[in-house]
């Protein structure tokens, strides 16, 4: 059954996207990536640590033949900074796919959607494939699609909070109003949160902390893989309507006296 995730014409066998931050070690990260089945990994762009001579680079721990790198603009607070980071990432990564993230508040890490839309317009003009982190607002999602973004990535809850999907109704509305893939990005805490995102009809889930911060990260990575698959299947299968009262699933006739 072919149910590939297609972003900007590129096909992916997994609907889970995973990060590379906050793991206990590079070894654990690599094992988590394998267990998750993810084919897209986010990475950050930072100044080279001039004191850390000879340290193996992050890419040493990522199977770049199997994985598509998605550099992010994490912790950029202006469109200009985000665009600058994307230009550097393009020179680093040999591709022009980016996760655009422009933040507007240090405490919640909520996005500055005005700056995000502005940056998206510039980046699309420069030929980037833009996957923007955004709020769970359908109007902004549509603006990002109109700007030429290849997907929209609304938050479930604040980055790293693990609160799960705070506004399932809005996520469902976003899925209705845009044609590009909708990927829930940030805020999931455990497998059921991921399954709910997929049951709402989302095309994928991007997560990091929920796996990296779990007691057993590799096992959680596997749980997330199953949750994405289970949620997707449940969505495609079509759930039964909710009913207020009981409705027996065994025959009412032929009961023994």
């Amino acid at each position: 059954m072919d149910d590939a995730l297609v972003i900007a014409g590129k096909r992916f066998g997994s609907r889970l996207l995973i990060g590379t931050g906050k793991y206990p070690s590079h070894e654990v990260m690599k094992r988590c990536h394998e267990a998750s089945g993810a084919e897209i990994v986010t990475v950050a762009v930072r100044r080279l640590d001039l004191g850390a001579k000879g340290e193996a680079s992050l890419l040493h721990w990522i199977d770049t033949r199997r994985m598509t790198l998605l550099p992010n603009t994490a912790l950029c607070y202006t469109a200009d900074d985000a665009v600058r980071t994307c230009r550097l990432a393009a020179e680093l990564g040999m591709s022009k796919w980016v996760k655009l993230e422009v933040l507007g508040d240090e405490r919640t890490l909520f996005p500055d959607v005005e700056q995000t839309v502005a940056a998206a317009r510039t980046l699309v003009k420069e030929g980037f494939t833009v996957l923007p982190y955004t709020s769970d607002d359908p109007v902004t999602a549509r603006k990002l699609e109109d700007a030429g973004c290849a997907a929209v990535m609304p938050l479930a809850a604040p980055i790293g909070s693990g609160l799960g999907i705070r506004n399932p109704h809005n996520i469902r509305l976003i899925r209705e109003v845009v044609k590009v893939p909708v990927i829930v990005d940030a805020g999931v805490g455990t497998a059921s949160d991921v399954a709910i995102a997929m049951e709402l009809g989302c095309d994928g889930v991007l997560l990091n902390t929920a796996v990296a911060g779990a007691k057993d990260p590799v096992r959680m990575a596997h749980a997330m893989k199953l949750a994405v698959e289970a949620g997707r299947d449940a969505f495609l299968a079509g759930r039964i309507p909710r009913k207020a009262y009981g409705s027996a699933s065994s025959p009412l006739e032929g009961l023994v006296d």
Partner: protein
Amino acid sequence: MTLTVNGERREVADGLTVATLVGELGVRGRVAVELNGEVLRQAQHPEVTLREGDTLEVVTFVGGGA
């Protein structure tokens, strides 16, 4: 001559190219370089000669997520 690399002042030999500087930094793996606010293409690294007072940002991929 004196350069500023990732916010730190650094004394280097005159006439150094970007590629030679990157080599001297002991980098393993790929880096991207911004020279005085302009991102350089990889192909420019061996061609661009640095000048007194230049400011460089040398970046790489690090772990990060959502």
